[in-house]
Every structure is written in C-alpha cells, then in structure tokens.
C-alpha cells in the first residue's frame, strides 16, 4: 500500500511540474509593463561644437561581461552615446570575462582596422600587450578605468578615482559626525573584494580623510560585491558592534544586501554612506527614511565620456572646453557626493543594479 500512495504522490508532483511549466514560460519576461523604467535611460550628453557631424569613424569597443550592475551600465552607456552620433559606427565585441577571449576579440578589432578602440580590460596587466599591438598598428586606444601599465599602449586614459571615492566618503562621515558632536565614533567599513588594488585604494582614502577629523575606522570586513555577501557580512558585523555611528559600504550593488540586513536586525542608530551611485541607492537617499544618507560616485557614465573622447581623437579634434588642440592624455573623474540635497540632479545618471 505504501508503494501505491507514494506512486500517487509522485504522479502529483509530475502533473504539478507539467502544469507549472506552462505558467513559468510566461514568467521569463523581464520587460517592464509600462516603459518608464530608468534602465532605459541613457547617459548621453549633448555637448558644444564638437557634436556636429564630422568625418565618419568606426569605434571598436571591448569590455568584460557584466556580472554586476556597474559593468552592465558601462556597455549600455557606451552603446547609447555612440548611437547619438550619425558619424560613428559602433563596433562592440562579445563581452567576456576570459582574458584569452578578450585578447582575441581585440585582435579581431585590430584586423578590422577600426579607427579607434575603447578598452575596459579584464586586467590591465594582461591586456597590455594587445593594447600595445593596436597602438603600434596606428589605432589609438582609449583606456577605460582599469589602467594599462605601459604608457605606449594607450593614447588616453579615463577612469574613476578610487582613492578619491574613499576620501569623499570619509569627508561626508567626518563632517556629519562632527556636526553631531560624537566624540569616539564607531565607524564600520564594508569593502568589496579585499585583494583588489581598487578596494585598497578606497580604504586608504577613507582612512586618510577620517584622520583629518581625528577619527579612525573601528572595523572593516570584505564582502564580494554581491548582494548575498553584503547581506552576510553586514548581518555578522551588526552583531559585532551593538552601537554604530557610521557605516561606509564600498558598493551600492552589495549595498542592497547590506540594507536588507540592517532592516532585518532592526537597527537605525547610525547613518550609512554607499559607493558607486546606483539608481536604487539614490531612490533610498531620496526617500529620506533610510539609514542610507549619501553615496559617493564611481559612475559608469565614464563609458559615455570615453566614447565621446574616442570620437574626438579619431576625428583629430580637441576638447572644446580646453585650449589644446588634442584630447588630454589622462582624465581622472572626481568622485562626487550624492546626498538628499542634490539627489534629484543625479537620479538620471544612476544605473540600475
């Protein structure tokens, strides 16, 4: 008899699975029902004289595959900016997280003889050779964010300022705590991947800026840039410190998990600063009832700027706001602090995590 009833149960499971498959098929779509989602927003800017159509140029583009909202926004922004120009043919290659594949993708762009390359390498050191090869073949390279060690390998570098990001967060935290008159504040830091130089730069900037106020970081712990690790690390850190005055989380994507952990622990006694500048973080800041008070940018809009610069280089123009005839060799973007006061201005630039 036991055999019998377990057979029936099994039949039920199967029937359920078959029935379910039908419903599920309808559930795979991710299209928003009304199309006002800001994932459609494109961070394009319309500049001065330089925007008038010029010589036709082909821009090759290669970046890592997105496993993170920030990288996804990089590719989308570059594409959107390129589409703004009638004189630009945009040629992106399949994004990949494999060094070898990215090398061969860039090689294919070289052999297609594109006019200029925009490269966000998986690893600057390891892609240096192929960037050099492009430069040697007469194709200027715009190096996006992760820098090539060899200056002969690229024409212009544009990227964010990790140290400056830490400094911006440190100044926000320091100023707020001094306003509140907290004497020996408990300051907690949740990092991204601790072994990355960018993480170490951010932490150093944070510590240096705090030092100017006479403060220091009480505890820091690394997550892995994912929502889940952010949640896990924050849950444990909140147990380690019963009273916190300020928390800086390096990354808004993992910040979603950090915020969930704070909510689940029912904590409210401190304020939090984020990093990167995702749309979601900005909405939290705007709401005014979140512990998240501010975020410091490391904006993927840099990809839009890189495409603009690449076009100028290929057309032999300089930047219209500068006196020089050519584009600068290096552009470090400032990390800006977004708080409730200015969040409306930044919202259109936020990326969906």
């Amino acid at each position: 008899m036991a055999e019998h009833s377990s057979l029936d149960r099994r039949g039920f499971v199967f029937a359920g699975a078959v029935l379910g498959a039908g419903t599920l098929a309808a559930c795979t779509s991710n299209e928003p029902e009304n199309d006002n989602s800001s994932s459609q927003q494109q961070n394009v800017s319309t500049g001065g004289d330089n925007d008038r159509p010029g010589r036709r140029v082909t821009i090759g583009f290669s970046a890592p595959a997105a496993d993170h909202g920030w990288i996804a926004a990089i590719a989308k922004n570059a594409q959107a900016q390129a589409r703004r120009y009638s004189d630009v043919t945009f040629r992106p290659v399949e994004p990949t997280n494999d060094i070898n594949q990215q090398i061969s993708a860039v090689e294919s762009l070289i052999s297609q003889k594109v006019n200029v390359l925009v490269l966000l390498p998986n690893d600057g050191e390891q892609l240096n050779q192929v960037a050099r090869k492009a430069t040697d073949a007469g194709i200027p390279v715009v190096n996006l964010d992760r820098i090539f060690p060899d200056k002969l390998a690229y024409r212009t570098w544009i990227g964010g300022d990790n140290y400056g990001m830490g400094v911006a967060a440190g100044h926000y935290v320091g100023t707020r705590l001094r306003q509140k008159g907290v004497a020996n504040p408990v300051i907690v830091e949740i990092q991204g991947i601790a072994t990355l130089p960018l993480t170490q730069d951010r932490s150093k900037g944070f510590a240096d800026a705090l030092k100017t106020y006479g403060f220091s970081v009480t505890a820091k712990q690394d997550a892995k840039f994912t929502v889940e690790t952010g949640n896990q690390v924050a849950s444990n850190l909140l147990q380690a410190h019963k009273k916190i005055d300020a928390l800086w989380n390096h990354d808004d994507d993992q910040g979603v998990g950090v915020l969930a952990a704070i909510k689940q622990a029912g904590r409210r006694e401190f304020f939090m600063v984020g990093g990167a500048g995702s749309a979601n973080a900005m909405r939290e800041i705007k709401s005014g009832n979140s512990v998240l008070e501010a975020t410091v940018t490391y904006s993927p809009t840099m990809a839009s700027s890189a495409v603009r610069i690449a076009r100028l280089i290929a057309q032999g123009k300089g930047m219209s706001d500068l006196v020089e005839q050519g584009v600068p060799q290096s552009i470090t973007l400032a990390s800006e602090t977004i708080s409730r006061q200015n969040v409306d201005r930044y919202l259109p630039l936020g990326f969906e995590s």
Binding site: M1, A2, E3, H4, S6, L7, R10, V13, G16, A17, G20, A21, T23, L24, A26, C27, T28, S29, N30, E31, P32, E33, S39, A65, A66, D67, H68, G69, I71, A72, A194, A219, K220, Q221, D222, K224, T226, V227, E228, G230, Q232, V233, S235, N236, L237, L238, Q239, A240, H241, K242, D253, V256, G257, L259, A260, Q264, A265, N280, E352, S353
Partner: protein, 341 residues
Amino acid sequence: MDAPTSQDTAPRTKQQGDRPYTRSMMMLGRLGEARHVGLVLALVILAVIGVVTQPDNFATSSNVVSILALASTIGVITVGATFVIIGGGIDLSVGAVMALASVWATTLATQSYGPYVMALCAILVGTGAGLVNGILIAYGRLVPFIATLAMLVAARGLAQRMSDRRTQLLQPENNAIESLSTTRVLGLPLVVFIFAAVALIGWLVLNRTTFGRRTFAVGGNPEAARLAGINVRRHTLLLYALSGLCCGIAAIIIMARTTTGSSTHGDLYELDAIAAVIIGGTLLTGGRGTLVGSILGLLVFTMITNLFILNGLDTSDQLIAKGVIIVIAVLLQRRGLRSPT
C-alpha cells in the same frame, strides 16, 4: 509498474530489507553518535572561543538568531544534498539552481502575479532543474558529477541571460516575501522556521519511511537494492528532484534575506553544502550518513564565519580554517570506519 507486482514485492522488500537495515543502522547509530559527539564538541569549543573573545557580543540572543538565519539558506540545501550523497550521488548544481530559481521568481513578469506565485515559481524551477538532473543521471546514465556540473554551468548561464546580469529587486507590493525574514515568531524570523521544518521533515523521511530506507539501500549497493526489488533509477531520479526542491525553497529564503533575485546568489554553495555533509559524517561513497550530522556540520561553518567577523579577522584566514576542519573531519571519519572491524 502495475499494481499487482508492486503489492507482490512490497512485503518482500520489507522482510529482506529489514534485517541488514537494522544491523547497519545499529552500527551507524554507534558511529553516528561518536561523530556527533565530535561535532557537538567542536560547536562547544567554538562557543567557548566566542564567549571568551567577545563576551558582550557572542552569547546574545540576537547573535544566535543571526547565526540561525544565516544558516537557513544553505541549511535547506544541505538537507537535499544529504539525501543525494547518502543515495550514492552528488549534486554540484545546488547554488546555481538556487540562483536560477531566485531570478525566475523575481522577473517583473513573475512578480506581477504576487508573492505566492513567486514562491511557487521558485519551487517549480528548483524541482524542475532537479528532475532534469535526475533524468540525465538515472535514465541518461550520465555520471552525477558530470550531469550536475553541466547543470551548474547552464543554470547560471540561464539565470544571467534571464536577469540580463542585473540584480532584480523585490517590488514593494511583494514585501510579503521579505517579511519572511523580518517577521519574528518567538524571537525567531520565519526563515528559521522554514529551515527547521525542512530539516524535521527531511529527518522523518530519511529515518522513518521506506523512501529513506531505500535511499540508504541504493547508495550502499545499487545492485543489491535492484535485486531487492527497488526501482533504483526511479529512486535516483526522485533524490535529485528532492535536492532541486530544496534549492527552490532556499531561493525563497535568499529572496527574503537579500530582497533580490540574482544570478550571483549561491556562489560556491555546492562546496559548502558538500563539506557540511561530509564533516557531518556522511560517506561520499553513499549508503551511510545522518542528517543531524550535516546540520551540525553546517552550524560549525556558520559559527566560524560569525566568530571571524565578530573578532574582525581576515576572511582569507576563515577559508584556511574551514579547509583544515574538512580535512580533520574526513580523517576522523576514516578512523571511525576502521575501528569496528
């Protein structure tokens, strides 16, 4: 299989199955207890370290709640993994399947149907992936390692494609999902009760039903199990479906905890789950094991993470500590096996 045959074989399997079953269970009981003593001892040692190093923070109710809540996601998966491993298989796809289920359940289209459909969707996707594993292994004769490795890669790929590699947030109207980890009953968030329920049901099924006995039989000696009238293939299929079901439930918990569905969820869960099962005293070759051990093993891991972060230590050292513990556990397990003979 038609009804008369199954009625025919049912009593026979019982008689044949019973004697070796009780004998092996006695032996297992002895070993199991000894192993559990080791794990309980490990937990006690960790707790003492916690109390000594962090007197104000470790032995608080909120820290205990936090450890249990953190353990509940992998905990549910560990229950399924214990069944699969006792049944002589391995499921490497658990983390990826959980990620896929969380992504599928949080697409805007699924979310428009409300929290119940989202939960059902997660469970169906998990079970469905488990069934595919089971069919490939039981009927396609693929080695479990290969079949579930393929599922690991494919499920993560599908999750990335479906989510466009973005983090999918719970919509405000589906906060019911998040309330599973914010609502507390008797001081514990609901997700801990889900974990407890899955563990209890798993224990009952493993130790008090024919399904459980067959799992031991199939894992111990599939040929003998087949000769004893057990449909080994069908049973194998069901074991992987069960593991998939657990991944679906875990997906609901991870959505509740992180308020998101993401293709990055559950990274390397397969290793944590398998490690917990192994240090819990289950043989990787199948046929022997306990669910209580797996859960104790998992709690050891979760407590180590907690202790390291409470003391502000580096996460790299944490990994080393975990590795050392796995090796010690397996060495002890070997000694435990040799001693009765």
